[in-house]
């Protein structure tokens, strides 16, 4: 069996001597010398088999998934429930809401079902025709129309209900499922029960969670809340909503709820926001919150305490960087959704350029440094994960196995050509949905506690759907030998900190070094390059960013300015929706020292790993259904991983 790829040797920056071709007859391709061994196993057992006391497993999962319980999902036709979501995530074949058998290429290791809490459980009873709901004219009307609505019309009804609930406030109060109603409580019990049933420590983790869906006049301030705890604690306090009087759309009130929960139960929760790109400038405030309330120590400290992560990439657009904010980053315009906000009812409020700076992760990481200087705490010191935000109960992030944003967008020949959103100035079609993303967690074991704790210390990273394995360490004296050693992670943890950490302060003028390495997804595309993205704050309080290519495939050159300007190429054959791993490398790694380091400046560094181009889901659809690709749709995509940053803070 020939599964091998041609191409050029892995390029390990500045150690080309070692990477040259060596024949077996002439001896080993690389030698382990005694110095390396002694360094590697200092304080460890000599035996490479001994249990390691650092996180050695990368666990793949989704921290954001809706089931038929979420009112918008249920209205759009999703009938699968949390039980189905967990079964599917564990690798079992299920039948989708519209009857298509579906299975993941590989199981996930963990999943959080995060249904919307507002009106939680209402939709199930609406569809089933609960008599109390049918007794109201609105309820009866929605029920009757949903019963006969086509797959395409259902989302319209969903928007109408969401609009009644969140925008026009005309939702009949007597059938609202608030946290004090029986319907809400039994729904929460059901969600928790499913997680308890499918949580299987060591093999599969079912995290308890929910989405708090603050949508201020269509501006997305959504947060997911994840629990470290089991049902015994999670059931003690009803999850928070955005609807007054029991809920609130202000994140500060959500944080109060979180504090209350922890106090009452002795449990632990964290929150992560998503889709700043749909917040029209509200996600990462610079001066004041949306309420007009000026940012103060309370806001800054609470946000920093409760929101250690940010969901940076998902179906509704990638949120790492925007080309307007990062004009020198040729990879910044990736699955960009900068059309407007997300007013329910299809018609959105258009984006203005000045909003962008408060919407994207990289910019927020920079703003965080400014806040930290002013308030002593960095509110945007977050790690990064990807998630699907699917409303189908199916966590499908892979391009050739994509089941859409909601059940109305399950695979069919028409699903690329729907009007998805429109504003006064333009429109967006459904082909813009992104088959993304995944959360990767470096943990010691697959349990709720270990995964939650890794999230809390930000030892996590995001991918846009590919299972790229990435390690990223920061310290002061990594060497190329560390990278070439049998298990670079030994040196990684011994000499520095992993992704999500803080560089330990060091006297003197020497610059920090970073060890980063990545292996491609075993069923995915090769790697194009690894980059380090640096952001910093100068003496005048101005922020900057810069991208360095630190490892590139196929022997390409990295110029003096730290960039490789030769593109990796593209092997995608659109007709057959296939690609070839004849370009790129299956693994890349580098030890990189910041050439522009200034010990007086606050800074952060994160790694971005980019794959070679592979077919986008729309190209796969075109091939499988024998239909044309709509005009303007990119045929290929370069999947990527974003690690959590490592921060540097000057002493004093």
């Amino acid at each position: 069996m020939k599964t091998l790829n041609s191409g050029l040797p892995i390029l390990l920056v500045s150690i080309t001597v070692l990477a040259g071709p060596v024949l077996a007859q002439e001896g080993p391709a690389y030698e382990v010398n005694s110095k390396m061994l002694s360094e590697k196993y200092k304080g460890e057992s000599y035996s490479p088999y001994a249990k390691r006391d650092f996180p050695n497993e990368v666990l793949w999962g989704d921290s954001h998934l809706h089931t038929g319980i979420s009112f918008d999902a249920g209205t759009s036709g999703a009938t699968l429930l949390p039980e189905d979501a967990y079964r599917f995530a564990r690798g079992e074949e299920v039948v989708s809401s519209y009857g298509i058998p579906v299975k993941l290429s590989r199981p996930l290791d963990w999943l959080a079902v995060t249904d919307h809490t507002d009106n939680m459980g209402f939709i199930i009873d609406l569809v089933a025709g609960n008599p109390d709901i049918l007794a109201t004219p609105e309820g009866k009307d929605w029920h009757d129309r949903l019963k006969t609505a086509s797959k395409d019309d259902k989302p319209e009804i969903a928007y109408e209900i969401i609009k009644a609930l969140m925008v026009t406030k005309t939702f009949p109060q007597e059938i609202y499922y608030g946290p004090d109603t029986g319907g809400y409580k039994s729904t929460w019990e059901r969600i928790v029960k499913a997680a308890e049933q499918y949580n299987d420590p060591g093999r599969f983790t079912a995290l308890i969670g929910y989405e708090w869906t603050s949508t201020l006049e269509g501006n997305n301030l959504h947060r997911n809340v994840l629990y470290r705890d089991g049902g015994d604690k999670a059931l003690q306090v009803m999850p928070y909503t955005t609807t007054p009087p029991l809920g609130s759309p202000d994140p500060m009130d959500l944080w109060k709820w979180m504090a209350r929960y922890e106090k009452q139960t002795n449990g632990r929760v964290l929150a992560l926001a998503h889709n700043g790109n749909l917040s029209n400038g509200l996600m990462f405030p610079v001066d004041a919150q949306y309420t007009g309330r000026k940012l103060d120590k309370t806001y800054i400290e609470q946000r920093s305490k409760w929101e250690p992560l940010y969901e940076v990439t998902q179906i509704k657009g990638d949120g790492e960087a925007h080309p307007f904010l990062s004009p020198n980053d040729e990879f910044a315009d990736y699955e960009t959704w900068d059309f407007g906000n997300i007013v329910p009812g299809n018609k959105v409020i258009a984006k203005e350029k000045q909003m962008l700076a408060r919407e994207y992760a990289r910019e927020a990481l920079k703003i965080g440094l400014v806040h930290e200087k002013k308030f002593g705490t960095n509110p945007y010191k977050f790690g990064m994960v990807g998630a699907t935000d699917s409303h189908t109960a199916l966590a499908t992030a892979q391009e050739d196995n994509f089941f859409g944003k909601h059940s109305g967008y399950e695979p069919d020949p028409n699903r690329m050509n729907h009007l998805f959103m429109q504003s006064d100035v333009g429109k967006m079609m459904s082909w813009g949905q992104v088959a993304a993303g995944l959360g990767a967690v470096w943990a010691k074991e697959n349990t709720r506690e270990a995964i939650f704790d890794a999230m809390q210390r930000k030892e996590v990273y995001a991918t846009t759907g590919s299972r790229i394995r990435v390690r990223f360490f920061g310290g002061w004296d990594y060497t190329k030998e560390d990278l070439m050693s049998r298990e670079p992670a030994f040196a990684g943890y011994q000499k520095g900190v992993p992704m999500g950490g803080d560089l330990k302060p060091k006297a003197g003028k020497s610059a920090p070094s970073f060890m980063v390495y990545a292996l491609r997804d075993t069923i995915g595309g090769n790697l194009d390059r690894i980059q380090v993205v640096k952001g910093w704050l100068d003496q005048n309080g101005k922020t900057h960013e810069r991208i360095y290519d630190v490892a590139v495939s196929d022997g390409r050159k990295i110029d003096k300015d730290g960039r490789c300007k030769t593109p990796v190429g593209n092997t995608v054959d659109v007709k057959t929706a296939s690609f070839n791993n004849t370009i790129g490398d299956s693994e890349l790694g580098a030890v990189w020292t910041d050439p522009d380091f200034d010990p007086a400046q606050k800074a952060f560094y994160y790694a971005r790993v980019i794959e070679i181009p592979t077919p986008r889901w729309t190209t796969v659809d075109a091939f499988r259904f024998g239909i044309p690709i709509p005009e303007g749709v990119p045929v290929s995509t370069q999947e990527r991983a974003y690690t959590s940053p490592i921060w540097y803070t000057p002493k004093g």
Binding site: S586, T619, F623
Partner: protein, 295 residues
């Protein structure tokens, strides 16, 4: 198993029992007795029912009711019962869509309630055996691998052969092969963990190797690997007692599916369904081809 349910379903006695039970529910556990007709106009509020009222109250208010509150609840119950019987006698339940829907819901709930009842150890053991693949504990392997990078070796197979004999002759594996960032050793790792790092095919082949000296090459998406299995715990099917909860959970999933299908099939019998032919703008059939990497 499924045959038994089918026969059961066709059993008129079952239908009778279900309908009887539904009626029984409607009488809300009031002790009118099976033989006594409602016409007797006698209402007995059993002590069991009073306890239930109290429990309901306590669930809502987190305290037991006072005597007054309890009296009020019993009064209210009796009032409801009187109205209910009179309404039934007048036939007000006929052709009322809400009553009909409520009846349907109750029946559906009852069907769900039935599902766990026959889950004896014998039934579950049988289920476990039939679905042994999904319950098997994976094989665990302790192994070492030496990597050969195809990008650096024009004659991979020849190099692999030479390296293999050196390894078999006792050369230290740490010093042989090409550099890789993928794991070189596993300590009693489940097969799925190896699959995660090297792909399914590699993991399957490696799991099939005997515990012995170096062998290979085994190919992965990264290249060729020489492998030595140093220890292994074979895959095993746990006893029912070890995984009873998990088996019961999966059993109930299957059973609910079967019941849904059976219930639907039963209802479906009463309908004549006509499906109109496809219109000319027919949806193209799904191609059986799978997109992906060309190898």
């Amino acid at each position: 198993m499924s045959l038994r349910i089918q026969t059961l379903w066709r059993e008129p006695l079952l239908h009778f029992v279900l309908i009887g039970f539904a009626l029984f529910l409607y009488y809300d556990f009031v002790g009118t007795g099976d033989s006594e007709a409602p016409a007797a106009k006698r209402i007995i509020v059993s002590s069991g029912h009073v306890e239930q009222l109290m429990a309901n109250f306590e669930r809502t208010w987190s305290r037991p009711p006072t005597e007054q509150e309890l009296d009020a609840m019993v009064d209210s119950h009796v009032r409801e019962e009187v109205f209910y019987r009179e309404a039934m006698a007048m036939g007000l339940d006929q052709n009322d869509p809400m009553v009909r829907r409520r009846m349907r819901m109750k029946l559906e709930f009852m069907l769900e309630d039935l599902s766990g009842q026959d889950a004896s150890d014998e039934v579950l053991s049988d289920f476990l055996q039939r679905n042994s693949d999904s319950f098997r504990d994976e094989a665990q392997l302790t192994l070492r691998q030496v990597y050969l990078n195809p990008d650096q070796r024009p004659d991979l197979e020849n190099d692999a052969g030479q390296l293999l004999s050196r390894l078999r002759d006792g050369s230290a594996p740490e010093a042989l092969g090409d550099h890789t960032l993928a794991p070189r050793t596993y300590q009693l790792a489940p097969q799925s963990e190896i699959a995660r790092d090297f792909g399914d095919e590699f993991a399957r082949q490696v799991a099939a190797l005997p515990v012995s000296d170096w062998s290979g090459p085994v190919y992965s998406p990264f290249g060729a690997h020489l492998v030595r299995i140093e220890a292994r715990i074979d895959a095993r099917l746990p006893e029912l007692a070890e995984i009873r909860d998990e088996v019961l959970r999966e059993y109930l999933v299957e059973k609910r599916e079967q019941q849904k299908d059976l219930a639907y099939a039963k209802l479906r019998e009463d309908y004549e369904v006509t499906v109109e032919p496809l219109n000319p703008r027919a949806i193209p059939a799904l191609s059986s081809a799978v997109a992906g990497e060309t190898r």
